[in-house]
């Protein structure tokens, strides 16, 4: 069964900490995405990557960075966590080109609480 795996289901971090959220996919997909999900706001795109070492800002990149050193792994980094980054974080992947029209495959999410 194909998968997108997010390393942590729940995380609690302190304000100011550097936080790493890891995402791994086993589908050999070129495209990977990080979204955050907040009630009433739906999913908002933070960053995406269409190839190894490539990254593009989404709609809300402030306070975040990403790393894609290997095709299967896409990491989201909160440089200095703040309480307004408390949220559900969802990783997704898709194939390149017309393969992306089959939709995204999502991980189960990481619920991050910053205290």
């Amino acid at each position: 069964d194909v998968k997108v795996t997010q390393s942590s289901r729940y995380l609690v971090k302190r304000t100011g900490e550097k936080v790493f959220l890891e995402c791994v996919q086993d589908m050999d997909h070129e495209n990977m995405f990080w979204y955050r999900q907040d009630p009433g706001l739906g999913l908002r795109l933070i960053y995406f990557s269409y190839d190894v070492k490539m990254k593009e800002k989404g709609d809300i990149p402030e306070g975040y960075s990403v790393s894609r050193e290997k095709k299967e792994r896409f990491s989201l980094i909160l440089e200095s966590a703040s309480t307004n980054q408390t949220s559900m974080y969802l990783c997704a992947s898709s194939a390149a080109g017309t393969g992306s029209l089959y939709g995204y495959t999502f991980g189960s999410g990481t619920r991050l609480t910053v205290v």
Binding site: G42, R44, L45, A92, L101, G103, Y104, G107, S108
Partner: protein, 114 residues
């Protein structure tokens, strides 16, 4: 800029009745349209998509959606709701010439009562 609107925060329906979850979109060109479902404490699952062709598309779990270009809508439907359909539903849009970005709506929570 592309956008998606789901006008209802919540939809309530009795089991066995038909259900509709509404979605309207705005894009500068022709759209790719998607529906996803999220069960509690889970990631999103792909339900169905409209790419081109027939305006009525069928997807997983008995769901279907109708693309209406003149009304820029892509409503999700099911003829007979099940209690197990209760979940959060997201509509999403991507421009055909827009590269990688898919924009998601705010979500509609569906409650199906037994």
């Amino acid at each position: 800029a592309q956008s998606v609107a789901q006008p209802e925060d919540q939809v309530n329906v009795a089991e066995g009745n038909p259900l509709t979850v509404k979605c309207t979109y705005s894009v500068s060109g022709n759209p790719y349209l998607f529906w996803y479902v999220q069960y509690p404490n889970r990631g999103l699952q792909f339900l169905l998509k409209y790419i081109t062709g027939d305006n009525l598309v069928k997807g997983s779990y008995g769901f279907e959606a109708e693309f209406n270009k003149s009304q820029t809508s892509f409503h999700l439907k099911k003829p007979s709701a099940l209690v197990s359909d209760s979940a959060l539903y997201f509509c999403a849009v991507r421009e055909k010439t827009g590269g990688f970005k898919t924009i998601f709506g705010a979500g509609t929570r569906l409650f199906v009562k037994a």
